[in-house]
């Protein structure tokens, strides 16, 4: 009897714990987006609180995010109900692991986005959720050094370099800021801004003569770049601290500067090169893994995320813009107004040359980025010969394209089969 009573205690404790866990069967929203604490909290309190059932919003880094997801997929059962991630997160997955969402009846307003979301299949594998882009921002103190005749809303790369040089000369410090830190999004600048602006391509023109010119220009800009940039990952911090006066970054990584000190900064479009004003739209989506415990609740949550009211709340929480048609209210945060205007000017400019997110690379997205990051580290930091580095890196890029068979995306000219490196 004593043994039985000894066991009875822990067992009843376990039983209570199990039932408590069962009672909390929230939908687990497993996301790579809205990771900063304030954003995650805003997602929980303002965005997801309006959904009927309780939602457990858990943001995480890309690596752990995928590790847990893959573990659940391999086990064949799991607790993740809804996935949130960038297009690149989903394109790295096997489409069979995601539930087809084509019959759900909700889509984004953009056909480009909807096509991307099919991941090469016939049906939507994820639903476009929110979008953003990369823009430029500057401290108002830098405006007086703008080159003569330069329009801040229609700068060229040459004018940007001259502007940064003027600031450098006047203050004695290099004040251009570039997110070249370990978590910085520098590769997107090369893929979506520098290369489209100078070579009208990304993959085909990787090692072209125009690309050599582009890297030379970037080296010139680097002369006036704060050398601590190799530690910068979120440029809002350096804008606020004054370590950088003119910066490039993702809209959501600049938001805090505009929200904290709305009168001190301006947002403006990325500069233009010989082949137009290259810029890259960013797309995040929501998807359901095939192991989701409650399929109906997950689908209902997807539909809820795409409702116009939810989209506006998401914009407030994350600084990512809606993907459905909504009327934006007037009382939006300063960051949203500033970034929204800059993105609109950028995409509406006469010489706009949008570079899409890399598509069709599957799980080679990281390797693709590394080609550009390596080129940067070798050309700009180690000051190796540009032609030699590009010819060397070209082999890796070609191998990635051949292995994945990814066709060219804009602004590269379309290809039959894998996109060639010329």
């Amino acid at each position: 009897m004593t043994l039985l009573s000894k066991i009875a205690g822990p067992v009843s404790g376990l039983a209570i714990m199990c039932s408590a866990v069962a009672a909390q069967a929230d939908v687990l929203f497993w996301s790579t987006q809205a990771k900063p604490v304030e954003e995650a909290q805003a997602m929980r309190e303002q965005v997801l609180s309006g959904f009927g059932d309780a939602v457990d919003y858990q943001p995480n880094d890309g690596g752990p995010w995928l590790t847990r997801l893959n573990a659940e997929l391999q086990a064949g059962s799991g607790s993740i109900g809804l996935l949130g991630g960038l297009h690149g997160d989903f394109s790295a997955m096997n489409p069979d692991d995601l539930v087809d969402l084509g019959d759900l009846g909700v889509t984004s307003a953009s056909d480009t986005f909807n096509n991307l979301a099919k991941l090469g299949t016939d049906s939507l594998q994820y639903i476009p959720w929110m979008q953003a882009s990369y823009i430029m921002a500057a401290s108002k103190k830098a405006l007086e050094y703008l080159p003569d005749g330069a329009d801040i809303d229609a700068l060229s790369y040459d004018q940007l370099i001259e502007w940064s040089a003027n600031v450098h000369e006047a203050t004695g410090e290099p004040k251009f800021g570039f997110p070249a830190g370990p978590k910085g999004l520098k590769h997107r600048f090369f893929q979506g801004y520098l290369y489209p602006s100078y070579t009208n391509g990304v993959v085909r023109t990787f090692a072209s003569d125009e690309a050599v010119v582009a890297w030379e220009k970037f080296r010139e800009l680097w002369e006036h770049t704060n050398p601590a940039s190799t530690n910068f990952s979120f440029m809002q911090e350096q804008l606020i601290s004054g370590e950088a006066w003119i910066v490039f970054d993702h809209t959501s990584r600049l938001a805090q500067a505009f929200n904290d000190m709305p009168d001190d900064f301006v947002a403006f479009p990325a500069p233009a090169g010989p082949t137009g004003r290259g810029f890259m739209p960013v797309l995040a989506g929501v998807a359901i893994p095939r192991t989701a415990p409650d399929m109906d609740a997950a689908k209902a949550l997807v539909a809820y995320m795409l409702k116009p009211e939810t989209q506006i709340e998401t914009l407030r929480a994350t600084n990512f813009f809606p993907v459905v048609d909504v009327d934006l209210p007037d009382d939006l945060p300063a960051s949203v107004q500033a970034a929204g205007a800059a993105v609109a000017k950028m995409s509406g400019s006469a010489d706009a040359n949008p570079g899409l997110l890399p598509a069709g690379l599957g799980d080679k997205g990281g390797d693709f980025n590394r080609v550009f990051v390596d080129a940067f580290e070798r050309i700009v930091l180690a000051r190796q010969d540009i032609r030699a580095v590009l010819d060397d890196q070209k082999g890796q890029l070609a191998a990635i394209m051949e292995e994945t068979g990814a066709p060219c995306w804009a602004p590269d000219a379309p290809s039959d089969g894998a996109c060639p490196v010329e």
């Binding site: 752990p64 830190g181 601590a228 799980d363 990281g366 590394r370």
Partner: protein, 281 residues
Amino acid sequence: MNARILPYVLILPVTIFLCVFFLYPFVLVAQQAFGTGSGFSLENFREVVSYWKFPISLKNTLLLAAAVVPIQLALALLMATMVNRMQKGRDLVLYIWTIPLGISDLAAGLIWLAIFEQSGFLNTMMSGLGIVDRPVNLLSYQHPGVVFLAIALAEIWRATAIMLVILVAGIGLIPKEYYEAAEVFGASPWKRFLRITLPMLRPSLQTALVLRVILAFEIFAVVAALGGTLFPVLMGETYAYQFDLLNNGAAAAMALIILAISIAFTLVILRILRVPKGATI
């Protein structure tokens, strides 16, 4: 219970534990490293070794170990002999010296980052003393030497204590008679250290060096905090393969390369510091 079976029964749990949580995952990692879908292949190894950063990260890792471990060994020996001679307050000093042991390596890296970064203590001090006009960015790609120095300092500060603890225990085991005999014959303190302490410490030195060298090849968090991507090391590259590139095979291959280096150095240390058969304290 039968006295002959008892020892085996007693080590059974730990054996099972090691098999399940060490041997089995190790086999899986080896499978990942040597297999690329179809049978045995060295493709993963070829890929990681031919990457342009591999020689740099290998050189950095070895250089760091070569710079840090000897200094730590000397420091640990010095500190251990000092502690051993103390009459009063020995425990207190030992506790204070081993505080860094209780701090995680990432936290140690962050502590030193707070010292070396542009708005850190070192810069504040230097500008306060008028050595520099404005804060200098020390941990940048322009000053690779300072980055190396900062990482080496953080490592020395953080991990000398583990050698110290082992050596203190070892010194305590050396019988006093040897020293008394040496004194009778007029050996100087330095001679006593060279002829008695060092040889008698061999087993402890072995353990301390093996542990420390293996840890030196696994250095990661301190480098990540202080050097970021400016100072590539083998473990950092492994992490990048696993989590940035999602390439399990290449990450497993890197892990095995680090293991191979560790094993090689362990064998060398064991060989050099071997205790001759029959020679015991």
